[in-house]
């Protein structure tokens, strides 16, 4: 049985609503007609890896207190193209800027490539959104420099970075051979809350956790909200993973991200504890950022990004393979026979 997109509600000339199920199915089939392009997919994977590297570079800037070592923007020490002497904090900040420029360029290349080769309109618009995201991210980074790292703006910069990373990972998923060519294995979801709802809840709590952590890192908030909320994250993610693995373990596209989610969650909790020890407990009187603190906090940020991306991938795969049963999607008073 094919899984098709959420049917679209339309209104005819008499003012009656009806569901165009045949339209959604034909659109889906048109999506299947997009040919798999190995080079396109590999470039999408490359972009996702590059953005992950950029997140690590950004985390190194914050952990080494180097955010303002290059005091101007968009120039670097007055120049748009000259590379300054890479010592001290400049080494981290300017390297971060150069990797970010690469990310912007590669995103534009992938967007143009997608528009020219991929027939799926929604994917084209997703790439357009990615280009807008990277532009806004660059502006946010500039505002953090010009306004001396205001905590809210710095946290928004961190949150958008991870959103952009999730977008890049999603594009890599959508351009993959398995997504394009294989007929998805489907199992209807009859439990409540649905697994899709749980994955959305997981993404939400991860975003809240990300924001609380970023506010702490940028001295806008104490550490305890982030630590307390970690328990909430653990509960929600465990619930999601248990549901996915116990009920839908036969669907590989659901099982693998669910297992990865659990593994990354455990890793992240351990890294969080280590980061707390090195930064809050032992590092309170440190005269400079020390290597154990830098490594643990950067690893914590990086694994956090992977965790969020995994939750997004799981959500996408659940939407595709574990749909909510059809009757549940339409409010009961409005149910009408679906035209064939």
């Amino acid at each position: 049985m094919l899984a098709f997109r959420r049917p679209r509600r339309c209104r005819n000339r008499d003012g009656h609503d009806f569901i165009r199920a045949d339209e959604s199915r034909s659109r889906f089939l048109k999506g299947l007609a997009t040919p798999y392009n190995r080079a396109h997919h590999r470039f999408a994977v490359f972009l996702a890896c590059w953005v992950f590297l950029l997140i690590i570079a950004g985390a190194l800037v914050t952990s080494n207190d180097a955010g303002l070592s290059v005091p101007d923007w968009p120039t670097s020490f007055g120049s748009l193209y000259k590379i300054p002497h890479l010592v001290g904090g400049v080494k981290f900040e300017h390297t971060h800027r150069m990797i970010a420029q690469g990310a912007g360029l590669f995103t534009i290349i992938l967007a143009v490539w997608t528009w020219r080769t991929d027939r799926r309109l929604w994917l084209r618009y997703l790439m357009l959104a990615a280009v807008l995201m990277v532009i806004v991210q660059g502006i946010l980074g500039g505002i953090t420099v010009l306004y001396y790292l205001p905590p809210l703006v710095s946290s928004a910069h961190a949150a958008l970075a991870q959103t952009f990373f999730c977008t890049a990972v999603a594009v890599a998923l959508f351009t993959g051979r398995r997504w394009i060519e294989e007929v998805p294995e489907v199992q209807m979801d009859t439990r409540r809350p649905s697994l899709f709802t749980l994955t959305l809840l997981s993404i939400f709590v991860l975003y809240v956790q990300l924001f609380l952590g970023a506010m702490f890192r940028h001295h806008g908030m104490s550490w305890w909200p982030h630590v307390v909320h970690a328990a909430v994250v653990a509960v929600v993610l465990t619930w999601t993973a248990i549901r996915a693995l116990t009920v839908y373990s036969k669907i590989e596209e659901v099982r693998r991200p669910a297992v990865t989610l659990v593994a990354l969650m455990v890793t992240q909790l351990c890294l969080g504890f280590l980061a707390f020890l090195t930064r809050v407990a032992w590092g309170r009187d440190a005269v400079q950022p020390e290597l154990p603190m830098v490594l643990s906090t950067v690893a914590h940020v990086a694994v956090g990004a992977l965790l969020l991306a995994t939750a997004v991938v799981l959500s996408i795969q659940v939407w595709r393979h574990v749909p909510v049963s059809f009757e549940e999607r339409i409010p009961s008073p409005e149910r009408k026979p679906v035209p064939a």
Binding site: D65, L68, P71, V90, I139, Y148, D285, V287, Q288
Partner: protein, 259 residues
């Protein structure tokens, strides 16, 4: 057509944000240049003090307890940094506590004081700030020098004054800055070399001092009256003492900080 409008709107927004961001920096620089010129017009006339009646307050600040071992700084991330690599958070020798800022916190009333014309100097040498604790009057010019063969980046993070952040290449001209409002323990750091920290104390009167390595301080020229003397350390906090000085008095006011 929708896509075209969206693209034009996005480009306009980007251009607008870029213009605002760049003009904010220019405005900041303009207001920074204008600040010293505006200062003389708002400063009230100094209250005269009879030099025949002034008193002196001096003393020693001690640390009760064992001084913690100074942390060693790792300067390897910049090969041009060659100097004393010990942190100056708590500097105590034989129980004498250095780097305590001592000032007259209360008792001067509405007296106004002339802003000294001579400048105070902050030197960046051996990738450390010298001095570690500085006292300066509101509006007084601070000359910031760079005697290292590497670029430093001076970034004060005040609570009551205007924040700024500037880089200073080696052998460049000194930066001239001042602070308009009173503020105690204003942190200054270098974003290039994260171990570099110092504190500037901005006060309205000339009655302040910083304890030397023997924990000693001296405040001269104080008019007779009742005062509150504050002793402030970057780590150990603030303690105060009330003192009454008569004409031509020489009072000893010692203070002890506990670990």
């Amino acid at each position: 057509m929708t896509y075209r409008k969206l693209s034009i709107a996005a480009l306009c927004l980007f251009a607008l944000l870029l213009t605002v961001a760049c003009s904010k920096k220019e405005n900041t620089e303009q207001s920074e240049n204008a600040a010293p010129a505006a200062q003389p017009a708002t400063t009230p006339a100094a209250t005269p003090i009879d030099p025949a009646t002034v008193a002196t307050v001096s003393g020693t600040v001690k640390l009760d307890g064992t001084a913690p071992k100074a942390n060693k700084i790792d300067m390897s991330q910049d090969p041009a940094c060659k100097g004393d690599n010990m942190a100056e958070t708590i500097v105590a020798s034989g129980g004498d506590l250095a780097n305590v800022f001592v000032y007259v916190k209360d008792g001067l009333g509405d007296r106004a004081f002339d802003v000294p014309k001579d400048t105070v100097i902050i030197d960046q040498k051996g990738c450390q700030y010298h001095p570690h604790i500085l006292g300066v009057m509101t509006g007084q010019t601070i000359d910031i020098k760079n005697d290292d063969m590497t670029t430093h980046n001076i970034h004060p993070t005040p609570a009551s004054n205007r924040e700024w952040n500037e880089s200073q290449p080696p052998s460049s001209a000194p930066l001239e800055k001042n602070f308009a409002r009173e503020e105690i323990m204003l942190p200054v750091r270098c974003n290039q070399h994260p171990w570099m920290k110092m504190y500037i104390n901005v006060v309205k009167s000339p009655f302040y001092a910083v304890t030397d390595k023997d924990g000693k301080y001296e405040i001269k020229g104080l008019p007779p009256g009742d005062y509150t003397i504050a002793f402030v350390h970057e780590k150990l906090g603030e303690q105060t003492q009330k003192v009454t000085v008569a004409a031509k008095d020489s009072k000893t006011v010692d203070q002890t900080f506990k670990q």
